[in-house]
């Protein structure tokens, strides 16, 4: 079964590192997908705040396109897209007035939406469709020694906790452990990243970023792993402001798919790692170079 890949604006813009790592990882694991043809804005941000029905109509057009293309499930890697698409589906089923508006708007462009297509996050697909065992089998360079703080942000478990616990999600924890990384217990895993406050009220926004980075650092993390382009941007791009106000040490924030790419031994220059302001320089050790018990390495250690 093929997924309708819905990149949304982020994965084509600021979050390109996410797309650049996600797609090779999916292909590597044999997950079939195709990018949804003629997709449009998911309806998040300003639309949702100003007029919910406009946001839902926009989202519903994408869902209708996926249904028309005969693709059974939508894959939405951006947490904001994932939330709005799910919310639209929920409103479509539970609020007749909203359903009417959506139906009318889509009819005007000769589309229709049945409300069936599941909207799923890659973390869910990787954990529950592909499975941890299959992922473990693909790990050729375990992330041994890398301490990761798993950071989920708010949108993939709230309010629609379709695949994980709302209060204490663990899907990424399990995934990172399967990759061989050390997962740091990070109680702020669903705290707010600052959202758009970093732009609108920088004092408040950067303080939230500081809290997240500082706590991860205090707990000995080498980096944070995230599932959301906005979280990654906030934790990555405001380092200068955070440092000048609070003097926090530098801590990279990467997409969980980038860590998967590294563990799978995919070409690291193609995982979008260089797009970050604060780059992760750590690389998994080459298992062939450091055998645990064997006397002498047969091959010289590759420079990392």
């Amino acid at each position: 079964m093929k997924f309708a890949y819905f990149p949304g604006c982020s994965l084509k813009g600021l979050g390109r590192g996410y797309e650049e790592s996600l797609l090779p990882v999916l292909r590597h694991l044999g997950v079939e997908f195709e990018e949804l043809d003629d997709w449009n804005c998911c309806g998040a941000t300003a639309y949702m705040a100003i007029d919910e029905s406009k946001a839902c109509v926009l989202a519903a057009r994408n869902l209708a396109l996926a249904e028309r293309a005969g693709l059974r499930e939508v894959l939405a890697p951006c947490a904001a897209c994932y939330l709005v698409l799910n919310k639209t589906k929920h409103y479509f089923h539970d609020y007749p007035a909203m359903k009417l508006r959506i139906d009318r708007a889509l009819a005007a462009v000769k589309l229709s939406y049945a409300g069936e297509t599941p909207v799923r996050h890659p973390l869910d697909v990787l954990l529950n469709d592909v499975g941890l065992d299959a992922i473990k089998q693909r790990v050729v360079r375990p992330l041994k020694g890398l301490k990761v703080a798993p950071y989920y942000g708010c949108q993939i478990v709230r309010p629609y906790a379709t695949f994980d616990d709302q209060e204490n999600p663990v899907a990424m924890d399990l995934l990172l452990e399967a990759l061989g990384a050390t997962v740091v217990r990070y109680p702020l895993k669903t705290k707010c990243c600052g959202g758009s406050l970093t732009g609108t009220v920088p004092r408040a926004g950067t303080r939230m970023v500081y809290i997240l980075l500082n706590e991860a650092r205090k707990r000995g993390a080498d980096c944070l792993a995230t599932v959301c382009p906005l979280c990654q941007f906030n934790l990555d791009a405001y380092h200068a402001q955070v440092e000048s106000r609070y003097g926090t040490p530098v801590l990279p924030t990467v997409y969980f798919t980038q860590l998967m790419g590294l563990a799978f031994g995919l070409p690291e220059d193609q995982l979008g790692l260089r797009r970050a302001a604060v780059r992760l320089t750590w690389r998994p050790p080459d298992p062939a170079a450091t055998p645990a018990v064997a006397p002498a390495p047969a091959v010289d250690a590759a420079p990392s």
């Binding site: 616990d165 709302q166 209060e167 204490n168 217990r185 109680p187 702020l188 809290i211 706590e215």
Partner: protein
């Protein structure tokens, strides 16, 4: 059997029920209409038919007009069918020549259009008038009630019910799953609001149970099968082996001291796993019966996880027991049958599993405790002898008590567990007394609706216990300030102050709610009871039959019916005992005659009906090749009547002619 309709003389009465019916249904019009129906001799409307004058009206008419059929259109038969049948019977008529029409719950309370409602009342009245003409005289059978009682569960509810009955001279079988009686109450330290010691008030009752000549106590036992009906139940009870002969053990506990395990090293369930015990142990000092038991899971004598002898144990306990010969490794599971007339189910509750709210950190942070653990921690006979010491060895200086964990929460359990506010405040008082720590209660609402309960809340306020109104968001070790380092931080929106607070504490107590037992559904099926949507056993009527179930002769008491505190539990257990006694003292039960019966000549012997009967009332006689129905077991559900392919099964009060007449009355407009 069906009487001819030529001599049928019907009296019809429609009740206004004050405004309940009269404000929607035009009662005089209904009475007037019914006058025109066949066989009707008298048709009247009256304000309250169930009142004494209403009943006398019927009786007078029966005498005056020689009525032989009565129809009353009023409320639900559940409410007053008995009343009217009794009235009819007193006037010398067979009570089954009476038919009731429900025009309150089925008409006036659910409709707003007066004209349509009156039409519906007319149709229902017409149906009953036609039906009642086909009624026959039926006889109510009396079945004797066995005088013995089975009480299931020996917490405070079961104990109180058993003692009440036993002191009244009844023989009681008390069955308890655990190795000792006492239930949850035995684990508590003090009781609210009087702060009297739970053990001091409970253990005398426990030992009275243990020694009472009228009580047969079976611990380590479970009811596994129940047959029969009110007055005549047969219960099968299975008992797990204790590996100690209850009659020979004196409770000296020398065996425990001599066990090959020098140290107690296995988690002790009675102390909520905070303490340790040996493989041979007694649950707690005042356990009843005062008999040790052996845990085959950890005893060296047994191969791990089996009951086969390993030969690895020196059996020093047997040596210690000596001449008493109480220890018996050959014991096996036993089952026995008992006959009783009535049953009281008092199987209690379980506490909410706090792992379901991971944001409160139980299991992650060692200093987060459940309330029941804290009960043991403050208890003088608990694992720390009443010293409140945390798992990390420190004495707490600040303690947070989180109310409503697994209560009043749409994500877990929606109901209020009723006891948590009060026991939280009790623990607050005890913890303050033991440690002098600052105590913070986090509550949604304080619910203190009992005698002296509100006063207890006032007392706590005076003692300087803090109350912060708000549902706690999380318990975390994320420190934002220096004073929070190394502490548990409780994050909560203080809804009275209107901002989010962070309270650093050393110890967190989760006030867990009450839930139905994990196996409540199995128990429900076993005793043929119903459960409410939340899983607690359902009473027959929430106000007027709170200890009865929908199965006659089976009563419920205590928290298996819903969360309640000790005073309410004891009151309910007493009520259940009284209900059982009422049946026993009367000595018989009357059986509704609406049972099914088989016309043997028509029975083809196909056996279709036998497996369909939910009450196993149908047997098949291989000699005559005919099925027959035990009237005492039949509940009149009608399943077999509908299923019989040869039409040989009939049912009293639901004869074809009666049902078809009723349908005709409903559907044929005149």
């Amino acid at each position: 059997m069906v009487s001819s309709s030529t001599d049928v003389r019907v009296g019809f009465y429609v009740c206004h029920c004050g405004h309940n019916i009269g404000s929607i249904v035009d009662c005089p019009a209904v009475a007037h209409y019914v006058e025109s129906l066949p066989n009707v001799v008298v048709s009247r409307d009256y304000k309250y038919m169930c009142s004494d004058p209403g009943q006398e009206l019927i009786q007078k008419d029966i005498a005056e007009f020689r009525l032989n059929r009565i129809v009353v259109a009023s409320c639900s038969p559940l409410l007053h069918e008995r009343t009217f049948r009794a009235a009819v019977s007193a006037a010398g008529l067979n009570p089954y020549f009476f038919q009731m029409v429900n025009i309150r719950e089925h008409v006036s309370w659910v409709h707003t259009d007066a004209t349509a409602a009156t039409d519906k009342a007319r149709a229902l009245a017409r149906a009953a008038v036609l039906r009642v003409a086909a009624h026959c005289a039926l006889e109510v059978k009396r079945v004797p009630v066995h005088p013995d009682v089975l009480v299931v569960g020996a917490g405070i509810a079961g104990i109180h019910a058993a003692l009440t009955l036993a002191n009244a001279g009844r023989k009681v079988f008390l069955v308890e799953r655990e190795p000792t009686i006492g239930g949850h109450m035995a684990k508590f330290d003090k009781t609210f609001p009087t702060l009297d010691c739970a053990a001091c008030i409970l253990t005398p009752k426990m030992s009275e149970v243990g020694t009472h000549p009228n009580i047969t106590l079976w611990t380590c036992g479970e009811v596994v099968k129940l047959d029969g009906y009110v007055g005549n139940f047969t219960a099968t009870i299975r008992r797990r082996p204790r590996y100690v002969n209850e009659d020979l053990c004196t409770g000296c506990q020398e065996c425990i001291a001599r066990c090959v395990f020098k140290e107690a090293k296995f988690p002790d369930a009675f102390n909520e796993r905070l303490g340790k015990r040996k493989p041979i142990y007694i649950p707690f000092p005042q356990a009843t019966p005062q008999v040790v038991l052996i845990d085959p899971e950890v005893c060296l004598n047994f191969k791990r996880g089996t009951t086969t002898v390993s030969g690895r144990c020196k059996r020093t306990c047997v040596d210690a027991c000596g001449e008493r010969h109480a220890i018996d490794f050959t014991q096996t599971e036993t089952t026995g049958e008992i006959k009783v007339g009535t049953i009281i189910v008092a199987t209690g509750f379980q506490t909410f599993d706090v792992k379901r709210v991971p944001q409160y950190g139980y299991g992650t942070f060692p200093n987060v405790y459940t309330a029941l653990e804290v009960e043991r921690l403050v208890n003088a006979s608990g694992p720390t002898a009443g010293e409140v010491v945390l798992r990390d060895g420190h004495r707490p200086q600040a303690i947070g008590i989180i109310h409503c964990v697994g209560s009043r929460d749409k994500k877990t359990n929606r109901w209020c567990s009723r006891v948590c506010c009060m026991y939280s405040m009790k623990l607050a008082h005890l913890l303050k007394e033991h440690t002098g720590a600052e105590i913070y209660n986090f509550y949604i609402d304080i619910r203190a609706p009992g005698k002296s309960y509100e006063e207890f809340y006032d007392k706590l306020n005076e003692e300087g216990v803090h109350f912060i109104r708000g549902r706690v968001g999380e318990v975390t070790d994320w420190a934002m300030r220096d004073e929070e380092e190394g502490k548990l931080v409780i994050r909560v929106e203080d809804t009275l102050a209107g901002f989010v607070r962070r309270i650093p504490v050393d110890m967190v107590v989760l006030s867990t709610g009450l839930e139905p037992q994990a196996d409540a559904q199995q128990v429900r099926r076993l005793f043929n009871m119903s459960c409410g949507s939340e899983g607690f056993f359902l009473e027959r009527h929430p106000k007027l039959a709170p200890v009865n179930t929908f199965t006659d002769g089976i009563f419920i008491a205590g928290c298996c019916q819903g969360p309640r505190d000790i005073p309410d539990t004891v009151a309910q257990a007493g009520a259940a005992a009284a209900e059982a006694m009422a049946l026993i003292d009367r000595g018989y039960v009357e059986q509704e005659p609406n049972t099914a019966y088989i016309v043997p000549d028509d029975c083809s012997g196909c056996k279709s009906c036998v497996p369909l009967c939910p009450y196993t009332a149908i047997t098949f006689d291989e000699a005559t090749k005919k099925a027959s129905i035990n009237e005492a077991l039949c509940k009149g559900c009608g399943t077999c009547v509908a299923a019989c392919p040869s039409g040989s099964i009939h049912q009293h009060l639901f004869e074809d002619e009666q049902v078809f007449s009723e349908i005709e009355g409903l559907l044929v407009h005149s």
